[in-house]
Structures are given as structure tokens and as C-alpha cells.
Symmetry: C2
Subunit: 344 residues, 2 copies
């Protein structure tokens, strides 16, 4: 283990991937997870941190464990098929382990896409899937286009009101490419609660407006947004509309809960609804053409004259670099979080 | 016909729906459209205006006719099936009539969804579909969830550059509901070119930042944005990423062109790529439940305390009112546009 400190974060330490995963898996086994499921669930937490998604990786593990001990997550529950018709399936997550439920659902959608060109699994009554991008990478690793989303508890006001009544409902879109998949992983709020808090703690303004003051003015001041609770949906009325539709689709397809029915408390957020779509582009055209088209698009984006100090990146571009670095140097974990995990 | 003037628009006149549709159809027949196709194409232009989507209805008709006479649109061409696998189909639009090609594609997707629960038609080499929302309403009228999008010519800079290289790629999501479908119809730019121009001509600021000045500052001034050509994608980097992914999906699935390959000239924009997905929620659960879920969501949104002078609306909420009003009072058409059409 090597220790390092980032300018803006508490002290971190780097841990080899396998060591970290095994530590998490052992804690999950103590909680009553079956050994193979403990291993897979732990791997997914470690993978998120490996890929640089620190908010939904190991740093999130203590809260996940609290959800298990409080009964929000039932580690023994397995998802069940409720109904199917052709390439469309409805599943009940039975309040099981969110990331394992989601992974299995995307695996089913991929299998459906192998058989029908496209497949969709709607999953109700499940738990937070942690890093949504994981299921995009999963589809793309299988040569599939992946599209998935989840609803969440209410945390953003719909356009026209100041009351948080819609979720930030992350949407993931992935396209496979040999030289590195393109994977978009975006929530419908301009900034997450965590991001706004980090800016405030660092004493920085947000780079663009992220919400409103209590007086109803757009602001880049994170403290003002935390005061008003008026976080901004992306594109104002547009992201508000998109969040509403994703929530409705998830709930209608899965028969599960909509955002308004999900407890508005991060520790009690549960029974969310998710949709997983996989498409097999190789079933309707030459497989080489997929890479050709994606490579040409990436080349074109990289050819755009960058603004000073910036550059144009494709969605997911940074992941492979971060993954390589973290694999070589060890996975960065907040020391306080590590201590918490060791004591679990 | 009755005449009326809006405060901010040139003089308009109201024309009964049937009269307007027949006028447009007769002009299309003169251009060589088969009678039934002239009727359907004209109906779709009239319907867009009927529903209040003035930018892509009758006001757009003269430009559409120019596209036919210039050869961009081939009125005799019919879409052809290129390949199919299960519930996924690839079609070639053969540079045919954009709205008819799109309508047929969504009809195919709906049929696939009847057979497989979900269906997807990817259409390459087609023309501007005019009002994208039409295909959402089409799916919802058939009791289906509809999701579709199109790529466009480059008109917005990707995040990190000031060069317009990505399209505003409208995305439509529709969910059926007896009391009025929910239909989201949104482009990836915060404001269309037409909207920015209208604000400038009225001497008004945009309600929220819509782009950058040439100095790189966010601005609400429409004239500044027209000067810099730096229109804003919704949610800054997020809408940029979403536009990139929608373009890539359209091009990979249809085997057709990506935004970078489409002529960047509104009069020559052609050979775009589109994707139409239909899902049959009634195939995996009770049909009454769909309305119940959608109604409850609408009720919840309407219960949100509105901000002063505003109210929370669901996507598509205004359409039925506007449709009713325009059906009763006649469809509003700009007098200059009407004169242009009569002379065609």
C-alpha cells in the first residue's frame, strides 16, 4: 500500500485491486451473502473505484452495508421473472442487492438481444444499482449497444416549482468499440448533491449555474443551492421533462414504483424501477462497420479545435486511462472509509 | 377564414384544417406526389400546425417544397428493408419524403412490438422528419411506448470546442394515456436557431443562458450567440455527450451517415439517420395499470406548489388544448407563408 494525498481530499491510500475486493467480499460474507455473490458484489464496488467512479465505488460501501443491516437490501433475495412477451420481460427485484439485480437484468437483456436483435428487461422493486455505467460497459463488452436507466428518490424540482419532486434518474448509453467503448453515464441533475457539497467544502464556485438561490436567481454558489434545495435539471425544462419520462417508463414497464413513491431519504431509498435495453447491431450489418463508424466519430471529435485549456472528449474516454493507472498503482481509497470498512 | 395578429408575429390568418390540408396536398400532387402520399404528407404538415408546432408545420412547407424541387427529397422513392433479425430492422430511406419515411418506420416498429413486445427500426439515408413528436403521438395512439430520435447536420459545438460539430438531434419519448398521452419532444440544443432569432427580432433576452459570446462568456443575448455560433447544448457537457451518443446509435444501427457527414446547410441537409423504438407495455402487465400509473404521476406533478407566474406541466400537456382551439377556430398560418404556398 502506498499513501498519497490529493490537494482537495482527505488522505488516501492505494490498495491492490484483489486485496480490496477480497476485503469487501469477506465483509459481505459476514453479513450473510453467499460466497459467490459476495465476490461478485465486492468486485463491482472495486470496479467502480478502479474506473474512477469514486462516488459509487468503495467510498459508498459503508452506506451499502448500512442498507443491508437496516433491512433496506435483502441479500438473500433473488430477482424473479414476473411476465415475458417475446423480447420484453418484467422482473421483480424482491428488494435484493441492487448491483447484482441490475447486472443480471442487463445479462438477460443481452441474451434477448442475441435471440431477437433487441431485448428489454424492466426491473421493479430493486435497490440502488450503484454505478450505472457498469451496465453500459457490460453490454458493450458483449458487443451490444446498451441503454439503461433507473429512477431515484425525489431530489430535483420539476420545472415550474421549487419542490423537489422528480428524481435525477441516471441514463446510460453504451456503444461497443474495440479501441474503447463509448459510454455515457449521466444523471438529470446538472450536479449531484455530492458534487455541490465538494465545491462548497473547497470554497469554490460551480463552473456553470447549478441551481437557484432562495430568491429564485440562477447561481453558481454551492452554499446557496444547498440552502434553497433547488438543484437544476440539465437544460432547465428539458431535463425536467426527460426525468419525468424516464420515471414513467420505468414504472409503467416494470409495474414498480415511481419516484413520488420512493422514500426521500438516502438511507431509506429503495424499491426503485429500472429498464435495461440491449441491441445487437451485428445482427443487421457487418460487425467491422460498427468499429469503423465509431472510430471515425471519435477521430472527428478529436479534430475539433479545442478551447484554451480544454479538449473534446467522447463519453467514457477517460475510463480506460484511469483504469490502467489504478490497476498499476493500486486503487485509491479514502483512509477514513477504509478504517470504517475494516471495522464493519 | 378569420384574420388575427399576434403581438410578436406578422399577421396571421386562420384556415379550417381540411381546407389547408387540401391546399398543401394539391401542391404536392403538382410536384409529382402520388395522390394518397400527397394527402398523407400534407396532413402531417397540417397536423403539426394544428398541434401548435408552428416551426415544423405549414410554415416549413415552402422550404420542404424547395427540397423536393432541388432534388434533396425524392418524392417517388420508397423506403426499403435492408436487413432484419427478430425485432430489429434496418431500412434505407432512399432519400425519400422524410415525414412519410418516418411514419412508416414507426408503424413497422409498432408492428414489431405487437409481435415481440419491443421493436426497433433503424432508418438511414432519409430526410428531415419535420415534427419529431408526430411519431411519439403515433406510437401512443397505438397504445405503445414510443422512443425515437434523428441526427441532424452539425449545429452545436461539442463541449470543449467552439466549432459546431454535433447535431441538436431531437429525442422523442411518448407514453400512452387515455386522458392525454405524455410526449416529450426535445432537441439537444437549449434553443433552436429559430428561437434565438425570434428573441433577437423581438428585442428580448433569452430566459436562461443559451450560448456563449465570442469572448467565451455564457450569455442570454441572442445577438451575441448568433455572432459566436456557439449555441449551448442542454446541460453543457451532458447534452453534448447525449447528442454524440444519439448520432452514433443512429449511424451504427442504420449503417447510415453520422452528423459529420451531413451537409451543414439547412437547404441541403439530407441523408440523416433515425431510430424508432416501440414497446408494448400491455404485453407484460394489465393495460389499466398503465393509465393508473400515468394519471398518478400527472396528479403528483400538478400538486407541486407552482412558482409565481408558473406551473408544472407534463411533457405534451399543452398539445390537446391547442389542438382543440385550432380545430375550432381554424389553423393559424402566417399570411406571407400562405401567399408563398398559393404561388407554388
Amino acid at each position: 500500500m502506498s499513501q498519497l494525498t490529493r490537494a482537495t481530499e482527505p488522505a488516501e491510500i492505494r490498495i491492490p485491486y484483489g486485496e480490496l475486493r477480497d476485503l469487501l467480499a469477506s465483509k459481505l460474507e459476514h453479513l450473510g451473502f453467499a460466497a459467490d455473490r459476495a465476490h461478485l458484489c465486492a468486485s463491482m464496488f472495486a470496479d467502480a473505484t478502479l474506473d474512477g467512479v469514486y462516488s459509487h465505488g468503495v467510498n459508498r460501501f459503508p452506506r451499502f452495508v448500512r442498507a443491508v443491516t437496516s433491512g433496506v437490501v435483502n441479500p438473500a433475495a433473488m430477482p424473479e421473472l414476473v411476465s415475458r412477451f417475446g423480447a420484453l420481460e418484467r422482473w421483480d427485484g424482491n428488494s435484493g442487492i441492487g448491483n447484482l439485480n441490475a447486472r443480471q437484468s442487463m445479462a438477460c437483456a443481452i441474451q434477448l438481444a442475441r435471440e431477437h436483435g433487441i431485448g428489454c428487461v424492466a426491473l421493479g422493486n430493486t435497490n440502488h444499482w450503484m454505478r450505472g455505467g457498469a451496465y453500459g460497459w457490460q453490454a458493450a463488452d458483449a458487443g451490444m449497444i446498451g441503454i439503461c436507466w433507473t429512477n431515484t428518490m425525489a431530489n430535483v424540482p420539476p420545472w415550474g416549482s421549487a419542490e423537489p419532486r422528480i428524481g435525477n434518474n441516471p441514463l446510460i448509453i453504451a456503444v461497443p468499440r474495440k479501441q474503447g467503448h463509448l459510454v455515457l453515464d449521466m444523471a438529470m441533475s446538472q450536479f449531484s448533491y455530492g458534487a455541490v457539497e465538494s465545491y462548497r467544502m473547497r470554497g469554490q464556485m460551480l463552473p456553470v449555474p447549478g441551481g437557484f438561490t432562495t430568491a429564485g436567481e440562477l447561481t453558481r454558489d454551492p452554499a446557496e443551492i444547498e440552502k434553497s434545495h433547488r438543484h437544476l435539471p440539465i437544460g432547465y425544462w428539458k431535463g425536467s421533462g426527460l426525468a419525468i419520462m424516464l420515471d414513467l417508463l420505468g414504472s409503467v414497464l416494470s409495474g414498480g414504483l415511481a419516484t413520488r413513491q420512493i422514500p426521500s431519504d438516502p438511507e431509506r431509498e429503495t424499491r426503485v424501477s429500472q429498464v435495461f435495453i440491449a441491441m445487437n447491431p451485428a445482427s443487421v450489418g457487418p460487425v467491422e462497420k460498427i468499429d469503423e463508424i465509431a472510430d471515425a466519430l471519435v477521430t472527428d471529435l478529436h479534430a475539433a479545435t479545442p478551447l484554451p485549456g480544454e479538449r473534446v472528449r467522447y463519453p467514457g474516454e477517460q475510463v480506460l486511462d484511469i483504469r490502467k493507472q489504478n490497476r498499476e498503482q493500486g486503487i485509491p481509497v479514502n483512509i477514513r472509509i477504509l478504517e470504517q470498512i475494516q471495522k464493519l
